[in-house]
Amino acid sequence: MATPRPIRSMDPYAEQFWTYTRQKDFRLQQCSECSKFRWPPGPTCDRCLSDEFTWTPMAGRGKVLSWVTFRRGYFPEYPAPHTVIVLELDEGPLFVAYPVEMDVGDLREGMVLSLRWADGQDKFGEYNLPVFGPPAS
């Protein structure tokens, strides 16, 4: 059984994002008119208002911008301490995740991390959660 996680915010566009994750496929929407990536998923390009888009595969690499460590438990699924990171993906969007396969104390500004997957489920079903860890050497 997949790991229970706090509930996702769901809409028709988010649903497509999460459907890709079932195949461990990390894709973000990219505007077909002006090429801007957007995240979270949504109906319209904020730069040009086009509603034409593709789900473009991400390289799965990003640089660490910041992090926070919860010292108080907010979710039963994430007992304290729990650390969340914000990355700047190679393609441009910022992406929230959590670090895996590394010590939180080793996090550094600008360090490059790469994509991993963690299983998850909520009332909408099973999925895989994009998380990040040290690049494979």
Binding site: W39, V68, R72, Y74, V84, L94, A97
Partner: protein
């Protein structure tokens, strides 16, 4: 993105409306409840309308007006305007809603358009009695905002978003926890001079550093209170202000700019510290009021978290970007210092009224006579509102 405003139209609005009355509930007494102990979360004693009604009555009394003098109403986010009007027997000719600065700007516009002359701005929040949640599983699964979109990864709460902000500030500029701590210590010192403040016990920098982290790098004292309260402000056309009981405090400048593009991604928060919005608002509010940051005698910023002050001081040009940590040291932001900030104790130590309690405090400082808490010679006061990049500012001046 082009952001512009029409200075030739905005400029003449300077000093066209005045704050003539302010009222607040008994934050400290209500927090402690009977027997002196803090009221437990969820121990319902009030609802938001009870608190708002009490504040309204006090603001009207302060102004020497009655409810029949009110022809416009602005309500804070926890109140329904329709129900509030019914409750208070009002049929206004104009109504608005929003945060405190937003309501002051809207009221100034409505009055200048001739829609109304005297607007009551009213807020009430029984967030402690009602045990309002600001993070965790009770606020998930809604629409798209960074506040709960990332719940599947375990990210929740406004506090954590400001922790990410401060961590980024530390990484870029070397700002230290000790530097940040000076803010909570200063605001607590101010609260101890304010008999209506919830918190009355001074804290030292050692107390600050010893207190537990909530979302590291933010600690307990970087967080605002969760308490019940109400605030009301009466704004009136300037030429009618002289009929009121208190000396008027003029609304001399205002500005508004929002940074919402890629907000859920946290881009304006972490890549810009919201300074684009700060700069846009500064370019509007200071010229409109005819002052510069050097002229500000009393300053207040939205402070759900201490780190807001670093952002606004840097963004509005009180110091350079990255130098906020050094700026707030050595008593500079305390009463008696160069730029007294959040002199009531703010939302960290007086009352978490989501920006509303800052306005009465600035008005009182400009009226004068606050005893030890009085900023000597205060003539120009500024409020900066910055909640997740939705930035506004108001400059108040002492009426002639």
């Amino acid at each position: 993105m082009a952001v512009s405003f029409d200075r030739t139209r905005l400029g003449p609005l300077k000093d066209t409306v005045a704050v003539v009355g302010v009222g607040e509930t008994d934050y400290g007494a209500d927090y402690r409840g009977t027997g002196g102990r803090a009221v437990a979360k969820g121990e319902a004693r009030y609802d938001s309308y009870t608190l708002a009604s009490r504040a309204l009555k006090r603001a009207l009394d302060d102004a020497g007006l009655t409810k029949d003098d009110i022809d416009g109403l602005c309500t804070g986010p926890t109140l329904s305007s329709e129900r509030a009007c019914e409750l208070w027997g009002m049929n206004p000719r104009w109504s608005g809603s929003g945060d405190a600065a937003q309501c002051i700007i809207q009221a100034a516009m409505a009055i200048n358009c001739g829609l109304c002359t005297t607007v009551a701005l009213v807020y009430g929040n029984a967030q402690r009695s009602m045990d309002t949640a600001y993070g965790g599983s009770r606020v998930t699964g809604g629409g798209i905002t960074s506040y709960f979109y990332y719940a599947p990864w375990g990210l929740t709460s406004q506090g954590a978003l400001y922790a990410l902000f401060f961590q980024r500030h530390k990484l870029l500029y070397g700002t230290t926890d000790e530097q940040l701590g000076a803010i909570a210590v200063a605001f607590r010192k101010h609260a101890c001079m304010n008999p209506n403040a919830v918190m009355q016990k001074p804290i030292t920098i050692e107390d600050y550093l010893k207190a537990p982290y909530v979302s590291e790098p933010l600690r307990l004292f970087d967080y605002c209170l969760i308490n019940d309260g109400g605030v009301a402000i009466i704004v009136r056309r300037a030429d009618m202000a002289k009929d009121c009981r208190q000396p008027p405090v003029m609304v001399s400048g205002f500005g508004w700019s929002e940074e919402n593009v890629d907000a859920t991604q946290l881009r304006p928060r972490l890549k810009d510290f919201y300074h684009t919005a700060h700069r846009e608002v500064a370019a509007q509010v200071y010229p409109m009021a005819g002052v510069t940051p050097k002229d500000i005698d009393v300053f207040a910023t939205y402070d759900s978290f201490s780190v807001h002050l670093l952002a606004s001081l840097e963004g509005f040009g009180f110091c350079k970007e990255g130098e906020g940590g050094a700026f707030v040291q050595n008593g500079r932001i305390e009463i008696g210092g160069e730029l007294p900030c959040n002199t009531s104790g703010g939302m960290l130590s007086e009352s978490y009224m989501q920006s509303w309690n800052h306005q009465p405090e600035l008005v009182r400082q400009l009226r004068g006579g606050l005893g030890t808490r009085q900023v000597q010679g205060a003539e120009v006061a500024q409020y900066v509102h910055d909640v997740a990049g939705k930035c506004k500012s108001i400059i108040y001046t002492k009426g002639g």
